[in-house]
Symmetry: C2
Subunit: 222 residues, 2 copies
DNA sequence: TTGCTCCTCACGTCACGTGAGGTGGC
DNA sequence: TTGCTCCTCACGTCACGTGAGGTGGC
């Protein structure tokens, strides 16, 4: 009674929603070989193969690579693979969110290709090479840390952002920003936008609240 | 005085953070050719090339393909390209969010590879092929629409989910769910999870509030 | 002359898509 | 015999990475 149901490659393709070529590919890389073949070398998949295929599809739909899936089936821990994958997904979501805001900001603020390009260029320059452009990154960081401490003192003392002390800090910060931007207006604007919408995490001890406070103080500085 | 600054390929690579191979590639596909070459065929990039390169990098960092970037430079509207891209980014964020919840749910609820696989398989089966499994999709949809109307009537009348009328609707819904799941417990659970965490949009006229109401009513049905 | 940089092929990656040319009939 | 499905190469996609073997000196 071992006359079990068999599937030819086209049948399995139709049932699974994959293509015949995909099944060939999975066999080629050693991920799923049919249990048997006919005398004419036609592939015959059995129930075990089908089961395995659905698991492959499930993991693939989660975004695992075929190589990772192979490893999970061989001996790996699915849990570890999933945890690692979850972290990758989280990072990707973060990245896309920032990107989304950047694109939207660009779209909303200009119609002209030239202007748009300049703006995007400035933004990505800031995002990508941020620290690299500093003459001396360590010195620059120490300076921002110091400014951060001064600003935090203003905040703790309950001073409004328009107070003389807060404005003094803001003026020093503005000088640092202008220096960083190399005098490029688009870069200064891009920095302001990024401070608001995609605050860098843990940048020299600054947090989002401090950046908001700084932006308010900057509005009172000429 | 046209002795302008020139860059050899290695210099430009270092300055831009790209590899030499990448610059070769951009030339190969017609995206960025050096303004000139030496007698020994060495590439010489000028300021215009550098400018163009930074724009290419900016658009690439936004996620545009090299082909799209080429089109934008030739004649295309950057704005249209950005809008289209923004929509793609949005869709991708949605997809990853659902995925994220799915992975987390799976991780949180089991240690065993076997169980995890079965759970994930059930979920992706539901997500991917939802409607296909119905014997008659049109008839099924009409049925869910009818149930939706009955449920909405309960809600409008201000009845609590434990009321007799709501429970009657819930019992009918449960029957439909069991049928859809083909008697598979894992699939039923997966459906419940997805109703809560990744509600399908506009499924036979049901919205998220209705699904919450149904879930509450289901808790009062044995 | 010694290094370093540059050059042009050309194959590899990843997950398949897309024919081409020929054979099988679970 | 006619269709339909199956078979095995093998090149194409995308954005480069990675040598291999040889030449230039912006």
């Amino acid at each position: 009674m071992s006359e079990r149901r068999r599937w030819r490659v086209g049948e399995l393709a139709k049932a699974s929603g994959l293509t015949v070529r995909t099944l060939h590919h999975y066999e080629h890389i050693g991920l799923l070989a049919p249990g048997s073949r006919t005398e004419g070398r036609q592939r015959l998949y059995d129930a075990r193969d089908v089961r395995r295929l659905y698991r492959i599809c499930a993991l693939r739909d989660l975004g695992l690579s075929l190589a990772e899936i192979g490893r999970v089936f061989e001996r790996g821990s699915l849990r570890d693979a999933l945890r690692a994958h979850r972290d990758r997904v989280d990072a990707e979501i973060d990245r896309l969110r920032t990107l989304r805001r950047l694109i939207d900001h660009a779209c909303a603020h200009s119609d002209e290709t030239e202007t748009l390009l300049t703006m995007i260029e400035a933004m990505t320059r800031v995002v990508r090479r941020g620290e690299e452009r500093q003459a001396d990154p360590k010195q620059a960081e120490a300076r921002w840390r110091k400014l951060g401490r001064e600003l935090r003192a203003c905040m703790k003392a309950g001073e409004v952002p328009s107070s003389a002390r807060a404005r003094a800090v803001a003026r020093k910060a503005l000088k640092g920003i202008l220096e960083f931007a190399g005098g490029d207006r688009a870069t200064v604007e891009a920095l302001a936008f990024l401070r608001k919408h995609a605050p860098p995490r843990n940048l020299a001890g600054w947090d989002a609240a401090m950046m908001r406070y700084l932006d308010q103080a900057l509005e009172h500085v000429t």
